[in-house]
């Protein structure tokens, strides 16, 4: 069997980045939530908020560590496996990644130390400020990396000289046409994902009859927030889609499985797109639906997959199905958030078992939606790694297949073990629940007690 190093490098990048995206998605939202809890503690003085903040901070720390180590892998993978990408596009994309490190990574990594370990070393205002700074850092990170990725989707402000990209206009490069939409869409997705995790945890505690006050707080905050943000995300997504139609019409054609651009587009609810026959099999459609959504007119036309030769088309199956998964989850989120708000308004949120029981199991949905969305946007961009400039197939490093096969297998093994354990441990932290102050012995700061007693103190505190 002849292994193809290009395919192996693609698989490796896809695998490592899919794992990685789970963690920043969670930490962007969670850091904002923890910062909010810290601020509420400072303003109201209620210990309750401090306890919740400490509880979520422990979970945050585990997720953040996994995000950091998987992120370092990506920053080096641009060079190890995609060296031609780096050589050709480094002049433009390099600074955006460089700024991510300077402006975001150092900030969040450094102040994380105070946030995790500074509870008793710094005054409360400085600790809260550190939590806020970490939250800002995660968002700045999203800003810079999405600018870079968006430039790959909608490249502007550059020129090619002898096959190498040279920057001409940095403002145009950073604020490229798809960037604002993709930034809004991703950051909103992160907050929405986190709110469903908090929702699930709150529901779990209420059903178990434990940590009731904390459970109610979490449920209220999550449901209220999601009820605003989930419908907002639908609007942002729609705007993003219209922007994509303008700049990457083939991606939209793949999402809609729209083959023939000379006819109005049907809204394909379900089908099996067949690339050999260039048709959709087993199609369940709403006629003119896609034209309505995308062009706001019954007979509106938009480009189809057949408008370019097959070698310039993206694969159809991944964007098509991933999009439907993402939208399906999004609709479910809107429905469940609005239902929750309605129950809250009727004063029945905390007692309604038919709502709480499934709610405790929804924590994974935001993550699946985010991964699906990224599959749409990245596979939909193919065969280009930078749209219209460089094909993915031309961007790969000169490595032997065996070498890449080795690293791919190792990544799958290591990530599989480490991240499965991480999720298991986060679940264990959730099962333990917030530690109320009544259980915490005071931190006296006196010299070390004997070993056994000392370890008990360490286990209980925080």
């Amino acid at each position: 069997m002849d292994l193809d190093p290009l395919l192996l490098s693609r698989l490796q990048f896809a695998f490592t980045i899919t794992f990685h995206i789970i963690f920043p998605t969670f930490t962007i939202g969670l850091s904002a939530y923890i910062a909010t809890l810290c601020v509420m503690w400072m303003r109201t003085g209620k210990q309750h908020y401090r306890v919740l903040a400490r509880f979520w901070t422990k979970i945050f720390a585990v997720s953040f560590a996994m995000g950091v180590v998987s992120g370092i892998v990506l920053s080096y993978q641009f060079g190890t496996n995609w060296s031609r990408y780096s050589a050709v596009l480094g002049n433009v994309v390099g600074p955006m990644i460089g700024y991510e490190v300077l402006v975001a990574f150092f900030l969040e990594a450094t102040f994380l130390g105070v946030m995790l370990f500074g509870w008793n070393r710094v005054p409360p205002w400085l600790h809260t400020l550190s939590a806020v700074v970490v939250a800002i850092g995660t968002t700045l990170s999203a800003f810079t990396i999405l600018s870079a990725n968006s430039w790959m989707q909608t490249p502007v402000g550059y020129e090619m000289r002898d096959g190498i990209a040279f920057p001409l206009d940095w403002v145009a490069i950073v604020f490229n046409p798809s960037f604002p939409y993709r930034l809004a869409h991703m950051v909103t997705a992160a907050y929405l994902t986190t709110s469903f995790v908090v929702l699930a945890v709150g529901a779990r505690y209420l059903l178990a009859g434990r940590h009731l006050e904390h459970g109610r707080t979490m449920l209220r905050m999550a449901v209220g927030f999601a009820a605003i943000v989930a419908p907002l995300q639908l609007f942002i997504g729609d705007q993003h889609g219209l922007n994509t139609l303008e700049h990457q019409p083939l991606k939209i054609a793949a999402i809609e499985a729209h083959w023939d651009g000379s006819r109005p587009g049907e809204l394909v609810l379900f089908a099996w797109p067949d690339e050999t026959t260039e048709t959709n099999r087993f199609a369940v459609t709403i006629p003119h639906g896609a034209s309505l959504l995308l062009t706001h007119s019954w007979d509106g036309l938009f480009p189809g997959l057949k408008s370019v030769p097959p070698r310039d088309r993206p694969p159809v199956l991944p964007p098509f199905f991933a999009f439907r998964i993402m939208v399906g989850i999004g609709m479910f989120m809107i429905l469940s958030a609005l239902t929750g708000v309605w129950l809250w308004w009727r004063g029945r949120l905390f007692e309604t078992r038919w709502y709480l029981w499934p709610a405790q199991y929804v924590w994974w949905m935001g993550f699946v939606a985010v991964i699906s969305g990224w599959i749409v946007t990245e596979t939909g961009r193919q065969p280009w790694v930078a749209y219209g400039i460089l094909r993915t197939a031309e961007a790969v490093s000169p490595l032997a297949a065996n070498t890449v096969a080795t690293s791919l297998v190792l990544f799958v093994l290591v990530y599989g073990i480490v991240f499965a354990v991480g999720i298991y441990y986060i679940n264990r932290l959730i099962a333990r629940g917030p530690q109320d102050p009544a259980v915490e012995p005071p931190n006296t700061g006196t010299p070390a007690p004997p070993l056994e007693l000392g370890r008990k103190v360490f286990v209980e505190t925080g």
């Binding site: 060079g79 991510e100 102040f111 370990f117 040279f166 920057p167 932290l429």
Partner: protein, 334 residues
Amino acid sequence: MESYLPVIWAAIIGLAVAMYVILDGFDLGIGILFPFAESDHERDQMMNSVAPFWDGNETWLVLGGAGMMVAFPLAYSIILPALYLPVIFMLLALVFRGVAFEFRWIGVTSKRHWTFAFAVGSTLAAFCQGLILGGLIQGIKVENNAFSGGAFDWATPFAVLCGLGLVAGYGLLGATWLVMKTEGSVARRARSEAKLLLLVVLAFMAIVSIWTPFAFERIAVRWFSLPNILFFWWVPAATLLVTFATWRWLETGHEVLPFLATIALFLLGYLGLLISNFPYLVPPSLTIWQTAAAPATHVFMLMGTLVMLPIILGYTIFVYWIFGGKLREGEGYH
């Protein structure tokens, strides 16, 4: 303008790498010394002494890599595939080391697995960084501005020597850090470990310093020709002096000076490597000028870097100051 921008950027990347080696050096050193601690309580203390700092420290590695991509994309695109396997193994080792910081405290029966992961991850990461260093010094095959060699070009006794030397070096940094930050049995053991490691590191530095001019003519010419030898003789002399001073300070109970002296030792070794290899970024064929990014890129990145680096150093020092002094009971992970 165009000819000195790459020099400025080489200095910035050089600074980032130096910061990384020193800061993550002592974190990794803690893990390297883990097998020699006598109890989990001691290992807890060792880990807690670096708990608030390790993430910020490791970020300098990302700056080094991303910085290379920004400033010298051609070099980045050649060096990383050339040293693929050591880089991959380093990254995997860092995955284990990084999560072990958190995981070690959550599992009850699995604590010893994550203790093992922390020790092995730290040691392997250090060893791979040494392999990368050795592989780079040895030179990389380039054709048509791309890596043209094989997957194991880097695998030589010289690279292994560099790997082992760096493990010892990081161990020394970790040991002198513990002397500074901890008390009791941990600090006492660290002090004697530091003395041993000091001798080991000196031996490795001596071997590398003799090996490289014999093995690589360009390095022999750089050091031994006139007038160069007049400019550079003080580097090995200073190295011996600093080693002697470190030994004395360890013997006489100083707590902070050994760590600072170890940093000086690392900087001297680093300077030696720079003297040997400048201006080649991809030895032996490509210089910093040949692999540089577009001037527009250098300028754009430089503006932000000149603003951000002092700010970063400022808040980094601030956080080290917040957690200054000896490790306190009950602090850190638990």
